[in-house]
């Protein structure tokens, strides 16, 4: 089966959770005898190696880890929240890619491809990995960093975030897009109910994300002498590193350490604040960004992973990676996190943003080594990429056999 994966950005330049999900799925599909192609978008106008296709659109075909990729670039600045783009649609049709099924892993920039496939009656699946379709700011956080439960058909975007009133059209476009695909899937019940609550009438199937166990090696025996907390993720406000730092500074445990993995370049102002917050505390160490191959080594270095997000997390892959490595997770009780982390079983939960509560939890595990051991022994390793691929393959087969 020829499958076209659509994703807003892709390796090797971009490597967040959605890209990893797309790559993992495409590669496993190859193993299972299918022919995947990734169609992606390049937003950096200065990126080289592109050839002209039509109008403003340029393309660059390449292979990433045996997966064929086509990157599209439009030579003008666009707003990130626009759902459809006629020029992209025309260019896609000109591109003449042949495939039996479309799987949208993220519809940003390339949403019009869905419209084109609908016209050509090519079946399609859309996986919601974040709240972009609902929120033009992508995070469901308003301008003063407060959580928002949804756009209310765009009126909230106008009132809370100061968007012009034509943002309502975007909401309609997003809903149209959802209607166009044959099946909407997501990895958390949270996101499923979020999208339904905000006006999507169709069915949303929950297919849990998974882990490629090639990048997992459980060599730790769990008898670490010192407690090392880990933070792995982009250092941006919504990921909540400030909550963790605030909590950690309150904890007076001299042997407890905190290691922070993640690029400091996404939001340099925030990153500087974080460095400022941790100044003078030798227990805290910033380790910078890392390659996926180093994940087992990083997981070996930490005893607990903290996910202090203050926005609606869908189903963080790093949480699964930690569990796959047998590392308990302390997470905000927000979004899809509590669907995996059960308080006192395989990790702990605290009220999102509440650094006092987090500090209490850290103190609790710092004082009693047994707590970690207990949590560790209760961890059920998350499922494998092969299983997720099987779920999707069954869906693909059903859709194409219609």
């Amino acid at each position: 089966m020829r499958i076209l994966y659509l994703v807003h950005q892709f390796f090797p330049k971009y490597y967040t959770g959605t890209e990893r999900f797309t790559l993992g799925l495409a590669k496993q599909m190859q193993k299972m005898g299918h022919s995947p192609t990734v169609l992606t978008y390049e937003m950096d106008l200065d990126e080289i190696g592109f050839e002209h296709l039509v109008g403003e659109v340029h393309i660059k075909p390449y292979t990433y880890q045996s997966v064929p990729v086509v990157a599209i670039k439009r030579m003008s600045r666009r707003t990130r929240y626009q759902v459809f783009d006629t020029e992209i649609e025309q260019a896609f049709e000109r591109l003449g890619l042949e495939f039996d099924l479309l799987h949208v892993c993220h519809p940003l920039w390339l949403g019009s491809v869905v419209r084109s496939c609908k016209k050509r009656r090519i079946p399609s699946v859309l996986t919601l990995t974040d709240a972009w379709l609902l929120c033009p700011r992508e995070t469901l956080l308003d301008t003063s960093f407060r959580l928002c439960s949804g756009p209310e058909a765009g009126s909230r975007c106008v009132s809370n975030c100061g968007f012009p009133s034509d943002i309502r059209q975007r909401y309609k476009d997003a809903m149209d897009l959802l209607e166009m695909v044959n099946l909407v899937t997501t990895s958390s019940h949270f996101t499923a109910s979020l999208i339904k609550r905000n006006g999507y009438k169709g069915d949303v199937r929950v297919i849990r994300h998974s882990i490629d166990y090639r990048y997992v090696s459980r060599t730790t025996d769990g008898t670490q002498k010192e407690l090392v907390l880990g933070f792995i993720g982009t250092i941006m406000w919504h990921k909540g590193l400030h909550v963790l730092l605030r909590a950690f500074r309150k904890v007076r445990a001299p042997t407890t350490k905190l290691r922070i993995y993640g690029s400091l370049t996404h939001d340099p102002t925030y990153a500087r604040e974080m460095l400022e917050m941790s100044r003078g505390d030798s227990r805290i160490r910033f380790e910078g960004s890392f390659e996926i191959e180093r994940l087992p080594e990083i997981m070996q270095n930490i005893s607990v992973l903290v996910i202090p997000s203050v926005y609606y997390e869908n189903y963080p892959l790093v949480m699964l990676a930690a569990l796959a490595h047998g590392i308990p997770v302390i997470g905000s009780e927000i979004g899809g996190i509590p669907e995996v982390i059960k308080h006192g079983e395989n990790g702990m939960l605290f009220e999102a943003g509440n650094s006092d509560e987090l500090a209490l939890l850290i103190e609790q595990i710092a004082e009693r080594n047994m707590v970690i051991e207990k949590l560790r022994s209760n961890i059920v390793p998350p499922r494998r990429i092969e299983e997720e691929a099987l779920d999707y393959e069954n869906i693909y087969m059903k859709l194409t056999s219609k």
Partner: protein
């Protein structure tokens, strides 16, 4: 040396006029001398000197004067004596006399000039200088009048830089290393002093007299001679001190000695004190010697005095009347002298140590000098390189100039062109002017239309504003509701959360309990809110929006939440309202890390900016100009009232909690129009509107009330065995799972028994048999259903067991088998063989298959129907024990055939599966393919190749053909690598492979980079006694044909799944060798079955046993 307009005395020197300073100069120089004259002006003195036989070299600053004077001088140097390089212009010339005629007072640093010229003075030579006396009576009188004006000539010449008295001129010479020998005074009466016009009559008679009695007051100029001091500076100073002191003492003592000895002593002491005061820089050691000398003098004088007394008894005034008194006095003096002597010794010692230090310092200085010299050398080399660079730069400059000239020429031609264009332009301009007139008429018309349009626009705006206000009111109502909602709900939830936390200890699943409470509370509160909302809506509906009341309502809102500041200045009025956060309020505003400051402001003066200050720190400008239709309606007379809103997002960082002073100022570019401030109090609220979504309860499929035994065979448990067992344990949909592990290896598996409650059955490795061992395990299992799993298979999904068991609900189904999903790290070979295998079987969907005439079917069809894969299969225990596994290898297929014969159907499920694959070396594939073929040909009656037709008569023949193919493959791989895999083009790569394989190689290349394959081929060669010598001719090569066939399958799969082999090159080559290994095994097996019919079973050679090992 004059520096301004020359003011020369244009009169010849007359040696008879002694009052003329120039006469003195000439006389003091003497006759037939070699003279250096500094500042000769027009050369009058020079001329007189030449007449007296002198050889005169002149240095003059003024070019004009130098030209005149050069007529008289022997040599004329024109230049500034202070800056001239004397070494260059005078070389090593030495002079008898150096003459400064009225020059020193004009120099900036006369001392330096004197010192620099000293080397040019012969040791017997002297300096002659004349300088004006500033202490002349006329100057003194003028100073009394407060006048110190400069004049064109004379003492107060405007170009004088220094003013000397007798004392200071002497000091100048002394300090410059000269000793003044002779000073002559050139006198001019006070009243006659040049052009100063002193009227003596206007001064008191006594003053004038006192002045005139002072001999210095009439000295107009000093003419002096000086010789170079020969002593060291310090010695000279000391000697000068000595002279001075002597003189002083002499004068003091000569006056006092005669009066009384006591006064003399006092004089001596005061003299000493005076000395110390006068020369603080003189060293104490020197004083010692000085005092030595002085005391000698005193001693002599005292003796003399005593003599004097003895011989002059008539001296009446003598206060020392008796000898003893004198004696006492003398004793006293002597003791004092002794003290002084002791002191002088200590001072001397000190001098010695100081000298040592000086020597050290000198040494150090020399070392530094050396360093400086080396530095100079390096600098000079650097200088050389810089010069070289300079030269190259000069060349470049020349080139650039040339280029510039070219450009200039071009410019000229361009200008000509421009002039042409200009004339053309002028013509078209005229044309354009006419058209403009036409346009102007059209514009006037358009303006008329515009005004009417504007009128319509303003009308529309009014209407829109009205609509906006209504809508805004609605939004406010909704916001109010939201506030109530979040405030109420949150408080309750937090309150109960706290209670639960305190009440329930750890580990009591407090989190879940809390969630339940939260959910029920949120439902309860949302119901309450719904009631409240409907009430509010009713209220809203009743409310009438009268436009006239807008202002009143605005004010209403203000009273609660913000304050209105109105200012009137210079006839202007401004109104400012801060709506958020609440100023001067005790109720805290809930904020996260940031807060929004918002409000509106109107003024009849244009507003330029709205500034926001927090705790008096300027945070920035607010964004002003946001639409505020409500304000526009309330204040229609103000301009911009419709867009009077402002907003500023402020970042609070760490200072969130607590009270802060917030100030907002509204300003034009240079004045503050209006200002509002107050205390705001913030409280940290990390969450805004937090929506708790109900936790999803996993929908369990209804549990089948049955026990399933999962039987796993293992020798050495794989690394992720734990993971597999975990997944089995977590299967849902069946009420009980029994895990039975059969171990034929040495490992202790009690860990698994403990952790997963597994039943462990250990057998010895020799007892192991694919069929019998599985059957044995099934007999020991207790479940109604039994599922067989290999130890490295992982169930995909947690409903695998349930699905299989449910499928077996159909009594016709005898066995369920599921699909294998390659692991994410599996190699290309495994993926492509599974794909090919399932394609061969037509297995790409869930199916339940069976046939009543199973034995009549073709082998492939038979295999497709009877396929059971014991990587994962499931049976009713009863059925299984009835049939059991039998035979050896391929026991699963064998059982499938028997089940089919028994009328059972087999369920083959494609939508569920196990994750399973191996990455094995070529040698394994070779053996495996041998064993597979042997088993399958027996079970399915495969037809074998007719080797006779291929003229292959022995194993050696076959092996020779194998090596030929292998050799071609090795050459092909080399070529692929050399061509860099044809740009990763799949088709091209396979074309090369096929082309190369068809070529019969003369040269043999039976070693590849694949050691594993090399080794097993070598072993096989050894076993069949192949020595490589016999090489007969074959028309065709069945090995190559078979291999090319399998390459075709590989190519098809690769094209189906990949677009290129980029990043896969090595894996691609690996796969080629593994495929070859499979082909070798296959061929060997075919040949073995071909000869089996001829030979007896146990004759089956040792090769067969070797190849069956470990499979």
């Amino acid at each position: 040396m004059q520096e301004s307009t020359p003011k020369y005395i244009d009169k010849d020197v007359d040696l008879r006029e002694e009052g003329d300073s120039r006469t003195q100069q000439v006389l003091m120089v003497g006759e037939n001398k070699k003279v250096l004259e500094v500042g000769p002006a027009s050369g009058y003195v020079t001329r007189a000197l030449r007449e007296r036989g002198c050889h005169v070299t002149c240095i003059e600053i003024e070019t004009k004067a130098a030209r005149v004077a050069s007529k008289f001088s022997n040599k004329m140097i024109c230049g500034n004596i202070e800056t001239l390089d004397l070494g260059k212009v005078l070389r090593r010339e030495k002079f008898d006399v150096i003459l400064f005629g009225d020059v020193l007072e004009h120099l900036k640093d006369p001392g330096a000039v004197l010192r620099r010229l000293r080397p040019h003075l012969k040791s017997s030579g002297h300096v002659v200088a004349t300088v004006p006396n500033i202490a002349h009576g006329s100057i003194r009188l003028l100073l009394l009048d407060g006048i110190f004006d400069s004049q064109r000539t004379g003492i107060m010449d405007s170009t004088h830089l220094h003013f000397y008295t007798r004392k200071t001129i002497c000091e100048l010479f002394r300090e410059s290393g000269y000793r003044v020998q002779q000073i002559k005074e050139i006198k001019v009466p006070i009243s006659a002093a040049e052009n100063l016009k002193i009227d003596l009559g206007k001064y008191p008679q006594e003053l004038v007299e006192a002045l005139e009695s002072d001999s210095e007051a009439t000295v107009h100029q000093f003419a002096l001679t000086a010789i170079p001091a020969r002593m060291s500076t310090r010695a000279r100073i000391v000697s000068e001190h000595r002279t001075l002191v002597t003189r002083e003492l002499r004068s003091k003592m000569s006056r006092r000695l005669l009066s009384d000895p006591l006064s003399m002593l006092l004089g001596l002491y005061s003299a000493r004190e005076d000395l110390q005061k006068a020369f603080p820089e003189v060293r104490k050691g020197d004083y010692g010697r000085l005092i030595d000398w002085v005391s000698n003098v005193i001693k002599n004088r005292t003796d003399a005095y005593r003599l004097f007394l003895r011989h002059a008894p008539w001296y009446d005034d003598n206060p020392i009347s008796s000898e003893p008194q004198l004696e006492r006095l003398r004793e006293e003096l002597l003791s004092r002298i002794a003290n002084l002597e002791a002191h002088s010794i200590t001072l001397e010692n000190e001098l010695v140590s100081q000298r040592k230090r000086a020597t050290n310092l000198e040494n150090e200085l020399q070392a530094r000098l050396k360093a400086a010299v080396s530095e100079r050398d390096s600098l000079s080399t650097e200088l050389r390189s810089i010069r070289d660079r300079e030269a190259s730069l000069e060349n470049e400059v020349a080139r650039t100039r040339e280029h510039a000239a070219n450009l200039e020429n071009e410019l000229v031609s361009q200008r000509k062109h421009a002039t042409n264009l200009q004339s053309q332009l002028a013509l078209s301009l005229e044309d354009g002017l006419e058209r403009r007139k036409e346009l102007e008429a059209a514009i006037a018309e358009r303006e008329l239309i515009n005004t009417s349009l504007k009128e319509r626009d303003s009308r529309i705006r009014e209407l829109e504003a009205e609509r906006h206000s209504v809508r805004t009111n609605l939004i406010y109502a909704r916001l109010e509701l939201d506030g109530i909602k979040s405030g109420l709900g949150f408080k309750i939830i937090r309150f109960y959360g706290g209670i639960i936390d305190r009440a329930l200890p750890d580990g009591t699943r407090r989190g879940e309990f809390k969630n339940i409470v939260k959910v029920s509370l949120s439902i309860a509160s949302s119901q309450g809110i719904a009631t409240m909302a409907s009430l509010a809506f009713e209220k809203l509906k009743r409310r009438e929006f009268r436009l006239t009341r807008n202002y009143a309502r605005l004010a209403d809102r203000q009273t609660g939440s913000s304050e209105l500041v109105a200012t009137r200045m210079e006839g202007h009025q401004t109104r400012l309202t801060v709506e958020s956060p609440l100023l001067s309020s005790t109720k805290p505003t809930l904020v996260s890390r940031t807060a929004m400051v918002s409000g509106w402001v109107v003024s009849d003066k244009p507003i330029d900016e709205v500034r926001v200050y927090l705790d008096d720190e300027f945070l920035g400008l607010a964004y002003y100009g946001l639409p505020r239709p409500d304000v526009g309606l309330a204040f229609p007379t103000y301009p911009d009232a419709l867009h009077s809103g402002f907003q500023k997002l402020i970042i609070l960082d760490e200072r969130v909690r607590g009270q802060h002073k917030l100030r907002i100022t509204v300003q034009t570019r240079d004045a503050i129009l209006c200002e509002a401030d107050g205390v705001v109090s913030f409280e940290d609220s990390p969450l805004g509107e937090f929506v708790q979504f109900p936790l999803h309860e996993t929908q369990h499929t209804q549990n089948l009330n049955t026990r399933v035994s999962v039987i796993i065979l293992t020798k050495t448990p794989p690394s992720d065995f734990d993971y597999s067992l975990e997944r089995i344990r977590n299967q849902i949909g069946v009420s009980e799972i029994e895990i039975v592990i059969i171990s034929s290896g040495p490992n202790d598996l009690s860990y698994y028994a403990k952790k997963y409650g597994a039943k462990i059955i250990t057998i010895s490795p020799s007892e192991f048999n694919h069929a019998a061992t599985r059957t044995f395990a099934a007999e020991n299992a207790t479940g109604e259903y039994i599922a067989f799993l290999v130890d490295d298979a992982i169930p995909a999904g947690n409903d695998l067991l349930a699905t299989m068991v449910q499928t077996l609900a159909d009594e016709d189904v005898g066995a369920v088998t599921v699909r294998q999903i390659p692991r994410s790290d599996s190699d290309l070979l495994y993926c492509q063989s599974m794909w090919w295998h399932y394609r061969m079987l037509g297995f790409n969907h869930d199916r339940i298959v069976g046939s009543e005439r199973i034995d009549e079917l073709a082998p492939e069809k038979k295999r497709a129907i009877c396929q059971i894969d014991d990587v994962c299969s499931c049976f009713r225990r009863q059925t299984f024990l009835k049939y059991k596994y039998a035979g050896g290898y391929a026991e699963d297929l064998e059982l499938g055939i028997r089940l089919a014969r028994g009328g059972y159907k087999i369920a083959q499920l494609y939508s569920v599966g196990v994750i399973h694959s191996h990455n094995r070396p070529p040698s394994y594939h070779l053996r495996r393919s041998y064993v597979d073929f042997m088993a399958l040909s027996r079970l399915l009656n495969y037809k074998v190749l007719n080797f006779v037709a291929w003229s292959v008569s022995s194993e050696k023949d076959l092996f020779d053909l194998i090596l030929r193919t292998y050799s071609s493959l090795n050459f092909a791989v080399d070529e692929l690598r050399a061509s860099q895999f044809h740009g990763y083009d799949i088709q091209e790569c396979f074309k090369t492979l096929r082309d190369q394989l068809q070529v019969h190689m003369v040269a043999r290349k039976t070693r590849s980079q694949n050691n594993d394959l090399d080794n097993i081929l070598h072993r096989i060669g050894e076993m069949i006694g192949y020595d490589g010598t016999e090489s007969k001719e074959f028309s065709q090569n069945p090995v190559t044909e078979g291999y090319v066939g399998s390459l075709g399958v590989f190519q098809e799969w690769l094209i189906n799944t990949h677009k290129s082999i980029e990043n896969l090159e090595e894996e691609f080559v690996d796969t080629l060798y593994k495929l070859f290994a499979i082909q070798v095994g296959h061929q060997l097996a075919q040949f073995a079955s071909h000869t089996e019919s001829k030979h007896r079973e146990d004759d089956q050679n040792s090769l067969g046993r070797f190849l069956s090992q470990g499979i």
